[in-house]
Amino acid sequence: MNRKAVNWSLGVGAPLLLVALWWTLSSTSTNTFFPPLSIILERFQALWLFDHFTSDVLLSLRNLLLGYALATVIGVGLGFIIALVPVARWVLDPLIHFFRGIPPVALVPIFISLIGFGVEMRLLSITLAALFPTLIATVDGIRSVDSGLKDVSAVYRLTRREKMVQVYLPAAGPHIASGMQVSLQVAFIVMIASEMLGSSQGIGAMTLLAQQSFMISDMWAGILLLGIIGFAANLLFEIIKNKVLAWYVGSKRLARTA
């Protein structure tokens, strides 16, 4: 218990210490590219709380969330089909491995030329890029469902639907979750990249614009916000994952201590 408390305070204390260090070291800075933290925070408040909050922050977050949700649904659904329908596997497997080899950001210029600079382009980029990690993890997860569990489902004559929902999906859950976590990071990267490359709206676009207009404090404020969003998104994901996969987390912990 005591050790846990120490670990916690280290985990919270170290970042706070770094921020304090940044604050003091930068307080007298006259370097244009490294403005004092106090000024960055002032700009942060002026920009994001709440001048551009609805117009840019919410817009970015909405794209991220929507694109990610679509990628998850399509990834898991398609993953089931590829893992369970041999024909689909033969047709789609090479295609998937080709497309996932392309860095997602490289697709953004193609989408810009195909469908322009709109929200649809950004949404499509995010969805497509975030699709592959979840898809591949789902296929892996379902293919590695224990044959013992499959036999049990057969002996108790579960229907196809019952097998999918009550056996395959939970059994592949840990795999799917790790895929979804990677997808989340990719979605975040592509969200920013798509805004920087093909938009005048959103956090990414604003940050790049600030840099190009030599508003260095604004640029730093943008980076700070992106860091906070990325951190919060991952934290939220972990919390949900640990709740949904409590059985998995628990059994792993028990296996470690046993």
């Binding site: 044959s147 057969a154 108790y156 004559r157 579960l158 009550q166 939970p170 059985w247």
Partner: protein, 265 residues
């Protein structure tokens, strides 16, 4: 056709008739089971013994309709088994891989029952009585991985009980539990048969266990598997781990079976 040692008035529930199973085809075919013929009567407890690797698990998979036979057939009440039969439940050897780790004990029991679309009250009653029969009422909200091996196997047995099969098949169900648990589980089997009137077929490599449990022992020889002999076990009815096992008759029966298996093919 009928087995010589089956009394004429008993009803045959499960019939295995010239069953053969091989994997692969042509020259590369690997024959696992050559030619098996035996029957199990209604309400009977039959054990199948044989050296490990003789194809006992393959046989059970054919009986459970998980794999098709290459030749011959298995039938229940005269109907050929071509898929998992509704009146049958199977307890697997490896409890680790047969319980759903994401479900609590009770929910593991409920999974097959949900498929049967039973009224909630009946499903609950079946779960309660099955858990009580295996002595795990206190563990219903725990996950399988929180339990010991013996307890997990009891959960798997309880799941089969709650399903209320007419025929229960068990594949080396006590192979990976300690000796004391093993005795308890054997007695649990005998109690199940008495309480639920099930027809039970147990595969084991433990000859003592086979003699202790069975009305008849089917002795398999290797390889490929064929029936060496079907031994009637005439031990008095309420069997007891201490008194039954110390009977001279018990020693004689187990020697009979053992010498069949030990004899060079």
């Amino acid at each position: 056709m009928a087995e010589a040692n089956v009394s004429s008035d008993a009803t045959v529930r499960l019939r295995v008739d010239g069953l053969a199973k091989s994997y692969g085809t042509g020259d590369k075919a690997k024959v696992v089971i050559e030619d098996l013929t035996f029957t199990v009567n209604a309400g009977e407890m039959v054990c199948i013994v044989g050296p490990s690797g003789v194809g006992k698990t393959t046989l059970l998979k054919c009986l459970a309709g998980l794999q098709p036979a290459t030749r011959g057939q298995a039938s229940i009440d005269g109907r050929t088994i071509s898929g998992p039969p509704p009146e049958m439940a199977l307890v697997f050897q490896d409890y680790n891989r047969s319980l759903m780790p994401w479900l609590t004990v009770r929910k593991n029991l409920m999974l097959p029952l949900r498929h049967l679309r039973l009224p909630a009250a009946e499903a609950k009653e079946r779960c309660d009585s099955a858990l009580e029969a295996v002595g795990l009422s206190h563990a219903e909200h725990q996950y399988p991985w929180q339990l010991s091996g013996g307890m997990q196997q009891r959960v798997a047995i309880a799941r089969a009980l709650a399903y209320r099969p007419e025929i229960l098949i068990m594949d080396e169900p006590f192979a990976s539990v300690d000796a004391q648990t093993r005795f308890d589980l054997e007695d649990l089997c005998l109690k199940i048969r008495q309480d639920f009137g099930m027809t039970i077929l147990v595969v084991t490599h433990d000859i003592d266990e086979a003699v202790y449990l069975s009305d008849r022992v089917v002795v398999l020889g290797s390889k490929p598997a064929k029936v060496l002999k079907i031994v009637d076990v005439d031990l008095p009815a309420p069997r007891d781990q201490i008194t039954t096992r110390s009977l001279p008759e018990f020693a004689r029966q187990r020697t009979d079976v053992l010498s069949l298996i030990k004899r060079p093919a």
